[in-house]
Every structure is written in structure tokens, then in C-alpha cells.
């Protein structure tokens, strides 16, 4: 097991390196079409501004050298300075913006997985039962409804019509209190969670059905073990293996969707920072927030891999 954990942790490194290379390669692509600084500042830029930007981006050096020095900084958490937010350091900007994103992604993934597991279990244990039948109808539509589309309807119904929540904005737990914080992330969290509920419950239903039909469950029943024990210890454990993988796949999607969800709820998160940076071509901020978002995806996937290894002893021995 320790070796398995080490291998999984180290697997994050190439992922981050790939993002770094891609985000730097983009600057390289930009330079193929002429001066990057001029393109970023667009028409009407004064030569002084262009010169200043070139110095700030370090554009005098060749690309590989810039990459190495940027990487050296990034490892220490220094992603350079923003071009626009009055020269604020990218690290500081991200440090402020990470919390709203972390909050809604955590709520979305945790609530989505837990509710999905509950529904999947209920329908897998009683195929054709009430939960199963209502789920088989709704889950196809729920899977087809992207979180940000759902978000708009959640706002219309629960914020505009019913007035239970504020339609937009983020409340900081430190200044506004925990209750206000929870209220402000409920709807965005739910928008991320519901499609996950559909995917997870569908997966667990099918793997639970398979597990219950397996020989080891039959054998456990033939040994006279009580059915709660057979389901809980024997069937559930194995049915969770593919389900955990599916939850991992959902993580990247959920983190990607935050760019749209944060726009719907006007949340000051990494997603909206990235959108802002993209519209202004604030390259250091783009690179920094891309790295941090990938780190987040990699972290969730690491948790998933470790759970997977815990559930499935075979993988630990490979």
C-alpha cells in the first residue's frame, strides 16, 4: 500500500507539467504571429507600454529559458504578477479567489456523490421498485442537463420566485457568518451536484445489480450471513469500485463547469478570474489559475485513486 500511494502521488507531477507546457506553448504560439506584447495590448498601445509589458513578461529571453524560470517560481507558489489587476501577484489573486470555487466544488462533489450513492443503492437493491422507476425516467434528463443550465432555473425558482436564497453573490464565512456562507453556496453547489447524482446513482445501480448477482454474494448467503451484512460488506464494497472511478471523472467536469456556474451566481472564484483574465489576455493569471485548477482536479483524482486502492486490493499489488 505505501508504494501504491507513492506512485499515485507522483502521477500528479506529469499532469501539472503538461499544463505548464501547454500554457507556455500558447505564448509561443502567440509569438509566432509577431510581438506578444503588442497583441496583448491590441491597437493603440504606446511604444512605452509595449516595452514595459515586454519587460514584465520577460519577453527578451528565449521561450525555454523563460519557461524554466517561470517553473522555478511556480514550484514555490510564485506565478508572477498580473498585467491588469494593478500588478497584484497572481498568487495573491488566486489565494483570494480559490475559496468560493473550493466551496461550491466541495459541496457539489460531496452532496452529489452521497445523494447519488443513496439513490443508486435504493434502486439497485429493489430493481423495478418506486425509487428505481422514478430514477430511470429522471436520470437520463438529469444527465443531459448541464449544471450551468440547471443553475439558471434554480435561480429563477428558488431565488427570484420563492426568494429563499439571494440570486447572486458570495458571503465570506469570516465576515458574514457561516450561515450566510452556506446560503450563498447552496444553489451553485446544487447545480453542480444534481447531474453528479444522476451519473453516480446510475452507475451504482448497475454495479450493485451485478454485485448482487455475483457468485461471492450467493456464497455469502449460502454461509447464512444476514442480508444487511451481505449487501453492506460484500456487494457494496465491490459495487463502489466502478462508482468511485465515475466520481473521479465527474471532478474534472465539475471544476470546468465552475467558470459558467460562477458567472450565473456572480461568484468571485477561480473560474470568473480565468474568464476575466482570458478576456483581457492577462497571461500570467491565465497560466496561474489553470495550474491551480488542474491541481484541484489532480487532488480529487488522487483521493479517488486512494479510495480505489483501498476498495480493490488487486490494484495495490500490481
Amino acid at each position: 500500500m505505501p508504494k501504491y500511494v507513492a506512485v499515485r502521488v507522483l502521477a500528479v507531477v506529469p499532469l501539472l507539467l503538461a499544463v505548464a507546457v501547454i500554457s507556455f506553448g500558447l505564448v509561443g504560439l502567440l509569438e509566432l504571429r509577431g510581438s506578444a506584447a503588442e497583441q496583448i495590448l491590441q491597437e493603440g498601445a504606446t511604444p512605452e507600454a509595449v516595452a514595459k509589458l515586454e519587460a514584465q513578461l520577460g519577453l527578451d529571453d528565449p521561450l525555454p529559458i523563460r519557461f524554466v524560470s517561470w517553473l522555478g517560481g511556480a514550484v514555490r507558489g510564485d506565478f508572477g504578477n498580473s498585467l491588469l489587476f494593478s500588478d497584484a501577484s497572481v498568487g495573491t489573486l488566486i489565494g483570494e479567489r480559490i475559496w468560493p470555487t473550493l466551496s461550491i466544488v466541495a459541496v457539489g462533489l460531496i452532496v452529489g456523490s452521497l445523494v447519488g450513492i443513496a439513490f443508486g443503492l435504493a434502486s439497485g437493491l429493489r430493481p423495478g421498485g418506486r425509487v428505481d422507476r422514478s430514477l430511470s425516467v429522471t436520470s437520463a434528463v438529469m444527465i443531459a442537463t448541464p449544471g450551468f443550465v440547471l443553475a439558471i432555473f434554480l435561480v429563477i425558482v428558488f431565488a427570484v420566485q420563492l426568494g429563499w436564497f439571494e440570486p447572486t453573490g458570495y458571503n465570506w464565512p469570516g465576515t458574514d457568518g457561516w450561515w450566510a456562507w452556506l446560503r450563498s453556496i447552496t444553489l451553485p453547489g446544487l447545480a453542480l451536484a444534481l447531474p453528479i447524482v444522476a451519473v453516480v446513482s446510475r452507475q451504482l445501480r448497475s454495479s450493485m445489480t451485478n454485485a448482487l448477482a455475483s457468485r461471492y454474494v450467493l456464497a455469502a448467503r449460502a454461509r447464512g450471513l444476514p442480508s444487511t451484512h451481505v449487501v453492506g460488506r460484500h456487494a457494496m464494497r465491490n459495487a463502489m469500485i466502478p462508482t468511485v472511478t465515475v466520481i473521479g471523472f465527474q471532478a474534472a467536469g465539475a471544476i470546468g463547469l465552475t467558470v459558467a456556474i460562477e458567472r450565473v451566481f456572480a461568484l468571485p472564484g477561480i473560474g470568473s478570474l480565468l474568464v476575466q483574465a482570458v478576456s483581457q489576455r492577462d497571461i500570467p493569471v491565465i497560466q496561474g489559475s489553470l495550474i491551480v485548477a488542474t491541481l484541484l482536479v489532480a487532488f480529487v483524482n488522487l483521493l479517488v485513486d486512494l479510495t480505489y486502492g483501498w476498495l480493490n486490493p488487486r490494484i495495490r499489488f500490481e
Binding site: P146, L218, R237, V278
Partner: protein
Amino acid sequence: MTVWRRLLRNPLTVFGLVWIALLLVCFFAPGLLATHDPVRQDVTLTHLRETPNAEYWLGTDAYGRDLYSRVVWGGRLTVQAIVIALGIATAIGVPVGLFSGWRGGRTDRAIMWVVDVLFALPLILLALAIVGVLGTGLVPAMIAVGVLLSTRFARLTRGVTLAEREELYVDAAKISGLGSPTILVRYILPNLMPVLIVQVAIISAVILLVGAVLSFIGVGSPPDSYDWGAMLNQGREQILAFPYQVVPSAAAIVITILAFNLVGDGIRDAIGRSSAPPKRRPRRDAREPREQFEHPDDALLSISGLSVEFPGANGEVSCVLDGVSMSVGRGETVCVVGESGSGKSMTVLTALGLTPEPGRRTTGEIRFDGRDLTALSERQWRTIRGRRIGMIFQEPVAVLNPGLTVGAHLVETLRFHLDLDRKAARQRAIELLKLVRVPDPERRVHEYPHQFSGGMAQRVGIALALACDPVLLIADEPTTALDVTVQGQILELLEETQQELGMAMILITHDLGVVAEAADRVAVMYAGQVVETGTAAEVFGAPQHPYTQALLATMPQHHHGHDGELTVIPGVVPSPASWPAGCRFHPRCSEAIDACQNTHPPTGDDPERLVRCLRVHEIDPQPRAERGASDRNVVEEPS
């Protein structure tokens, strides 16, 4: 052709296909469907924010633009985006996958490493960053998405190619001198197509989603565009004044993703399902006699007149067990023999109350040690299964939970039945492994099932069955899945422990040699019925049913001196849906007469010596091969 027909039989798939066809019309001729100019604003300001009506089918937006026509034209942009991204994704992904899978080895590992890393990246964010640096617009965005999604096609293609490469027809093509490109195009690509089409449907939905997100946040299509994502954002801005405005574009996105998913699922099902149409069950005489016998007083387990039915297609039922009776006394060994599909396993599972779903016991009594097992509650069953009746299965590894150690299996069983504490249970588990001669039990008790060979796993299976000192052991073909060399050891172990502990045993087996050696009594099953019972001496020495005689003739010792020619019973056991009327064995029976085709053979009155044959008194009792190869050898009495 049949795949198409199956595809079109599913209404959901048809819905998806029709929707996609409509989208294609939007792409090629949006003017055909649209009723208004999608961008013309209402300068008179009289038709702003209308809900659906006869003139504006889906209403109008805040600028008085017709939402229906905008959705139609937006469909054109959607198809355009999908075509670009999909084209790039397949154009890169499929060749890379083909190359990687075909070359294999180090090249394959290197390529797949890169693909796996790209696969794990957050697609939307990466596409966003690429668009941000290189300039906004739907086309550059979709090029980026296409490049990133090519990893999906590369993985899929590589997997299929790797598998197909090992196929014999590929070897044959190589030997006949065809070059790699020809083989790839002519042989592997056609096998790849079905999975590729399913993937195309799924990925189309992903592309639509990413495109909609990018336009929604304003970096795909321009903000005032009729792109569905952009329309959704325009609606979002009207969320207080006119919430309805988001509905048409939201519905378009959701229904289109749904359509792609439905088509993908439909194709997968249509390809995946076996092409055999459901067989129609021949009409069976409802008044078929079902014998029931008195339970013998001294029997430990007795089964009488047991029938099990399964619901089949079209509301018909198929009867997989039909009036099965057998019994086993204390300390006795009863062997159940018969070809695969004759209902042997079904009989013992039903006796334990574990009839596989959706099967149902319709008639019959099961008594164990004086108790009626058919009336037990789930709680009462637990005092019998595993405690008083131990069961050994055919697949020794599959019956162990892959996620639990071997010790955990033993400990849970011991603790549940015998009220032991954890330490005592673990001690007992090690003793049990020692009893079934697993070497180094202190270490192996901590190991997982996949670390056990078949033979060792079956020893664990025996230990589990013996854990609580049962009075009856049921062994369902315990050696079938094992190597020949191990089979003998396992059977020896079974017999020894049975004698040591004085248990009764029901042993299901194909191996007549084992029966001759181990059985006190024998039950021969065919097509869901017991066709002959008797003591081992009776059944082996004077078999009366033609099926028993034919089975015995297939035993290897009946062949010596006959050029080693192996006798087989012609034909196979029919499936429960197509059991013949009359005697079920008559189509394969060399002794059959016309009456066998429509008369249910009686079984006689003696439950200890049943023979289910119409001609029982006319047939010479001896083992014989079918189709004329009769009177071959004298069978020696089993010792």
C-alpha cells in the same frame, strides 16, 4: 440490417435520431425551418418579450427577435461546431490509436502515457485558456476542443486495435503478404466502426456542452449571437424581467444532449445484444403428472416433487425443474449426475432457499432434519445455511469476495454462527486452513483471493463450508474448474473430512469415476427431471434408463480395447424453453418408440429406485452407447 431494425424498435433511439436529423436540416437549410429573420430586432417595440403564440412559436426576446428562428439558426452553429471538433478529434485520435495499438510495445506505452496525461486535464478550462490566448471565436475554440478530445478516440481505437491484432484473421492476412496499412484499413477499421460510432454520439454531446459553456461566458460566439450558449446568457440577463427567455435555448441544449446520449445508448444496446430471437416454448400438456413421495423417516434432507419456474419472454414461463425428488440420509453420500443444464445446481440451490432470481419454486416439499424448509423466514434460514448445511461451489475463486482477505471470510462466518470473539475466530480460521491442508496458514490467512490458485481457493471453500461443523455438505461440482492433478487431491480431502466429521454429502459431478468411488446412492438428472435413482450398485450394475446407460457408456473404462474411440451421447440437453413433449430424452434415445413422443413416462412406485422410462421393463439393464454401439463391456461392481 438486423442492427438497424433493433435500433428502430426502440422509441427513445428513434426520437434521438429524428432530433439529430432535424439538426442536420438546421445545418443545411435553416431557412426551411425558420419563420423569421433570427437577428432582426423589432424597431416598433411592440413584440418584445412575448411568450409563445401563433406568430412567434417560441416567443420573442428582449429585442423582439423570434426565439424559434434563433434556435433553428443556432442549431446550424451547433452542428458546425460539432463537425469541426469531431473532425479534428477523429482525424488525430483514430490514426494515433491505430498506430499505437498496431506497433505495441514501447511506442505504445510512450504514446499512451501522453494521451493519459492529456485525458485527465480539465477540458473546459484548457479550451478557455487556449481561446483566451489565441483569440476568441467559435472556430478556434472548437479546434482546441477537437485536439483535446482526440485523446478519447486514441484510447478507444488503440484498445480495439490491440485486441484485433491478436486475432487469427490478422495473422492470416499478414502471412498472405498484405501490408500493415491494408490490414488496418481493410480488417481492423470495420471492427472498430461500431464502437467508434457510439463514441461519436457521446463525444458530440460533450462538444455541444463545451461549446455552450464557452459561448455562455462570452469567449465562443459573440455575445449577441444566436448560438445556444450565447442565447442562454442573453436570457440570463433578463432573469428578473422575463425569465421565460432562457427556456428555448436551455431546452435546445438539453434535448440535443439527450438525443445524442439516447442514440449512443441505443446503438450500444443494438450491437451488444445477442442476435438470437427468443425461442417459442412448445405447448406442454398441463396435466402432466407430478409424483410426490412420502418423505423417508430416516432422511436428513428430502426433496419431493420440486418444481421451479422462470418467467420467460412474452409472459410465458419456463419450468427448469419439474417434480424433482431425492433424499440423503445421515452420513450418506448421494451423487447427482447428468449433463450441464439438467438442473442439478438448481435443485440444491432451491433446497437452500437460494433459487436464482427471477426463478420461483412452484411446487414441492423440502424437509431437513424434520423441519419444513419451505416455510422458513430469512432469520430462521440463517440458523441452517452455513451452520448446519455447508455449501461448496464450482468456481472456487469467484465465490470469494475479491476485496476481503481469506481470513475475513472465515472469521465473519465463524463469528456470526458461533458467537466467537475476534481473536478466537482468527485462531479457529487458521486451524481450519490447517485442516484443509493450506500450507503456511498463519501467513495465508491474511492474503486476498486473487493470490490463491484454483486448488488452494477450493481448499478455502471447503474450510468455509466446514467452519461450523455442518451435518450436511453440498458440493456442486467442486473440481470441475480445477486442473486434473488437483482434482484428485480435492476429492480425497472431501472424502476424508466427511468421514472424519461424519457428515452427509450431496455431491454433484460430471465425473462418473468419482461417483463409482464415493457414492452410496445416485440420482441421475436430465432436462429438469430425475430420470433414475438407486444405490450406486444398482445404477452402475444394472442401469435401467437409456440415458443412464448412455452416460455410463461414455466412461473411459468402457472404451479400452475399442481403438480408444470415445463414445458420446449424440445431441445436447435442450434448453428449458424447448423441452420436447412426452419423454424429454426421446429425441436422443436409441430405444425410443413412437409412444415416447407423447406419453409422459411413469417413474414407478419406489422412491429409492425410480426409473422414468416408458420401456423400463423391455430394456436390457446395462450400460450402452447410443446408436447401435451396444453390448460392449461388463461393468465391474463399484467397490
